[in-house]
Symmetry: C2
Subunit: 226 residues, 2 copies
């Protein structure tokens, strides 16, 4: 109760299964007394491209554009574009970040990857020697909640699903010092019975009820690749 | 000689190190007699967001928008948006796809992920039981060529760099039936001496000279995680 949650949501359709998972999270967490904010990326027409437009005013080096350097400098002088400052403020205030999306190509949809690329800039999320346990977003939790197209069995024939979590959980959240909770994966909701879909929604509600008692995963290579 | 190459390039600045790697590839491959096409994503202002705009005309199901279903249906009736049809034509004609980009968060920049999300639709790149060795883009080669911010040593302390190649090489290219050549990684070009940078550029030229004799990697989990 009193905890702040930011849900970054990347699905085009409110009536989708991802839309239902979002709705459940907002309702259940609000019921618990949490304050919930949603960044609905498609509805916001969130810009995924990392360009010069992200810096207001002059560039540090206008001879050769370097996105990492320019956004770092712009962050320091408060000259990032308005949409980025707003997202950073939401991240700053949150105790928990939930990412809700359909898996596209073993990964996040581009619009969500663009949120990571543009919002988590140097100086804000990490710094020169401030990464991993020293990352600037320490004290926060994160949870990747996603749906897949293929069945659990199909994924298992080609290796463990955890393999594809490494870049997002370890490479982004862990890098910024954010602790990672177990991912929440709904396999192939489009290809299962209505009853099975209902069970999956109930399971999400149930998990959220005890979420704050969960221990974060140990984000070592062994967790992913044992 | 006579081979067709598509380079999908994702950097904002022609004067960047990625820009130099692109230039080298175009020059060297052209010199070999290859026909080279470049998709310069930032210059094209390529759209990374997967939305309803990708379908021309009516939707298959306008009650609830499902991007995968809608693009599959649109592909079959030739109703994908013009930018996607053009990219698919380039892919169709290519013998080799080179992806040139700076690594952002253990992954492709969002603009390049958006190219994957939107161009490689069902029916074009894969189909119901046509994936992996049966993928629809069989007979093609691919190569991921990228720069990093961190040094080789820094990456090595947190696990093998190959871990992050799984979603892009296996999850995308291998899934579509495209063979994968060894990645080409230039570590931290911004933090090394001018001489070292020159060496890296020369190494890329050298590699391209014998590229067509290379054997694709064995895309099994063992290659990535042994």
């Amino acid at each position: 109760p009193g905890k702040k949650v930011l849900i970054v949501y990347a699905h085009q359709e409110p009536k989708s299964f991802n839309g239902s998972l979002l709705k459940i999270a907002v309702e259940e967490l609000t019921k618990q007394g949490c304050s919930v904010t949603v960044s609905d990326l498609y509805a916001m027409q969130f810009e995924p491209r990392a360009t010069r437009n992200d810096i207001v005013g002059h560039l540090h080096n206008s001879e050769a554009f370097n996105y990492g350097v320019e956004t770092w400098e712009a962050y320091k002088r408060g000259a990032l574009s308005k949409d980025l400052i707003e997202e950073q403020k939401k991240v700053q205030e949150a105790d928990l970040l939930i990412f809700q999306f359909p898996l596209f190509w073993f990964n996040m949809p581009a619009i969500l990857k663009g949120w990571m690329d543009r919002v988590l800039v140097q100086g804000f999320a990490y710094d020169l020697s401030k990464a991993y346990d020293g990352g600037l977003l320490q004290g926060k939790l994160s949870l990747f909640s996603f749906t897949t197209g293929g069945s659990k069995e199909k994924y298992a024939t080609r290796g463990d699903i955890r393999y594809l979590l490494w870049p997002m959980q370890h490479g982004i959240m862990h890098f910024c010092g954010v602790k990672v909770l177990e991912p929440h994966i709904c396999y192939a909701p489009e290809n299962v019975s209505g009853e099975k879909r209902k069970e999956m929604l109930t399971a999400w509600t149930q998990r959220l009820k005890t979420l704050w008692k969960e221990e974060p995963i140990d984000c070592s290579p062994e967790w992913y690749f044992k």
